[in-house]
């Protein structure tokens, strides 16, 4: 059924993507603490290693060796499997995302995408939305009222986000006529003026807001807001089980950053003298930084405000955007 070479190539790519993204997710926690600290005129972690760089390793060792606690009334199998769902879906969504332009290594042309399919965008959004089951099952199986509240909020928030992100991403698809992320990237080869962000500013803003909602980042962190519901669905989790939720959240952040960069900001096309791969790294880093910046700058919104904005403002706006795009194209 499969060619051996294809299987080997896919395995190697998958190992690289999973290892690099898992490492980046860990590194992003350090970056987050540093960025937030500098924005609050603090220094952040400084004691472990130069500039606190080894703080990451110290935290990792602590997490790895932590005791695995399952609370007494929890439904054990569901409680144990929920964080695995959250982490796995975050990584599986990356199977159809291209990261860099294709390059030649030892005579082979390498496409830096695990599997090149023509419905990549639909696949990514579909798999990412399965990730809702992580928080939902975690909250419902923990037998803790904060967890249950957090789960209910998580589901309502992520479902609402699904509608907005699905509608906002329709307008760029109408312009390009393809769901393949590589096609979307190739449609923006002509420099900064060709980026879809100029033709679809509204869709860009809507998709960015929906991205913040999907990853449960501030200002939409109603799911795990400490002052209201302790830690939401993750209240009863500790050690590496909690760490899996964390890795999933940061992996989702990276996926959203890559998606926004490809769909709206020109993807991995070379820009002026900067090669495409470096351009992609710069864009993704900028988006990760933006996630942290917003967290430092904005207060958190209430769940009812979130629902209000999502269903009464963002959704009608995205429908209007689709209608305008349709008339403009024909």
């Amino acid at each position: 059924m499969f060619d051996t070479a294809v299987i080997i190539e896919t395995v190697v790519k998958a190992v690289i993507v999973v290892a690099v993204i898992a490492a980046l997710a860990g590194f992003a926690t350090f970056i987050e603490r540093k960025v937030l600290a500098f924005m609050q005129r603090r220094l952040g972690p400084m004691h472990v290693g130069p500039y606190g760089l080894l703080q990451l390793a110290a935290d990792g060792i602590k997490l790895f060796t932590k005791e695995d606690i399952i609370p007494q009334n929890a439904i054990k199998p569901i409680f144990m499997i929920a964080p695995v769902i959250a982490a796995t879906t975050a990584f599986v969504a990356m199977a159809a995302v291209p990261y860099f332009p294709e390059f030649t290594l030892f005579g082979y042309t390498i496409h830096p995408i695990i599997s090149d399919i023509n419905v990549a965008l639909l696949y990514v959004m579909g798999v990412a939305s399965v990730g809702i089951y992580g928080p939902l099952l975690a909250g419902m199986s923990s037998a803790n009222k904060w967890s249950l509240l957090g789960a209910a909020r998580a589901v309502v928030q992520m479902l609402s986000f699904e509608v907005v992100s699905g509608l906002s991403v329709l307008a760029p698809i109408m312009m390009i006529g393809s769901l393949s992320l590589i096609d979307i990237n190739d449609a923006q080869t002509g420099g900064i003026g060709d980026w879809l962000i100029w033709k679809q500013p509204l869709a860009f803003v809507l998709f960015a807001i929906a991205g913040f909602m999907e990853t449960n980042r501030a200002p939409f962190d109603t799911v795990e807001f400490e002052a209201e519901i302790v830690a939401g669905y993750a209240t009863e989790y500790s050690g590496m089980r909690w760490g899996l939720f964390f890795i999933g959240e940061y992996a989702n952040m990276i996926t959203i950053s890559v998606l926004v960069s490809i769909i709206f900001m020109g993807g991995y096309n070379a820009f002026w003298f900067i090669p495409g791969g470096l351009m992609m790294l710069l864009k993704v880093s900028f988006w990760i930084f933006l996630f942290l910046w917003v967290r430092a700058a904005w207060p958190h919104v209430r769940p009812d405000q979130l629902m209000w904005v999502c269903w009464k403002v963002l959704m009608p706006l995205s429908v209007v955007n689709i209608v305008i795009t349709g008339f403009a194209l024909l």
Binding site: F2, I7, V18, F64, T88, F91, S115, A143, V155, G326
Partner: protein, 119 residues
């Protein structure tokens, strides 16, 4: 191509399933201790939790979930149209406009019965 994607998804899923197992196995490295209150529910330090987790949730949560099913299915219908917009032309656009109007009427009805207000 879809076989290729299936293969890729399976491999990534296997790898990410392998990671947690490794992580969870490493929890055995650390010391373990049993104390009386360790497996209690967390409630900000209160040793006897107040209330149960089987409290009733607001119906709004269920309502939003049902609305999601309706609207998201409609969005899925719009994806094939968006892909073939240029071939379908104005006829397709006006047909989709009718569909969007029906969707908007539904949203307006939902708005009128205050399903979207959380007060």
């Amino acid at each position: 191509m879809s076989e290729n994607l299936f293969l890729a998804s399976c491999i990534v899923a296997f790898l990410t399933l392998f990671l947690p197992l490794l992580f969870l196995a490493s929890a055995r490295l650390g010391p373990r201790s049993e104390t009386k209150n360790k497996h209690m529910l967390y409630e900000s330090g209160i040793s006897s939790p107040i209330g149960t987790s089987e409290g009733r949730m607001s119906a709004k949560f269920y309502l939003i979930a049902i609305l999601f099913v309706l609207f998201d299915v409609e969005i899925i219908f719009m994806f094939p149209w968006a892909l073939n917009l240029r071939e379908l032309g104005f006829l397709g656009l006006f047909e989709m406009l009718t569909f969007i109007l029906l969707l908007a009427a539904g949203l307006w009805y939902v708005y009128r019965i205050k399903a979207l207000s959380w007060q």
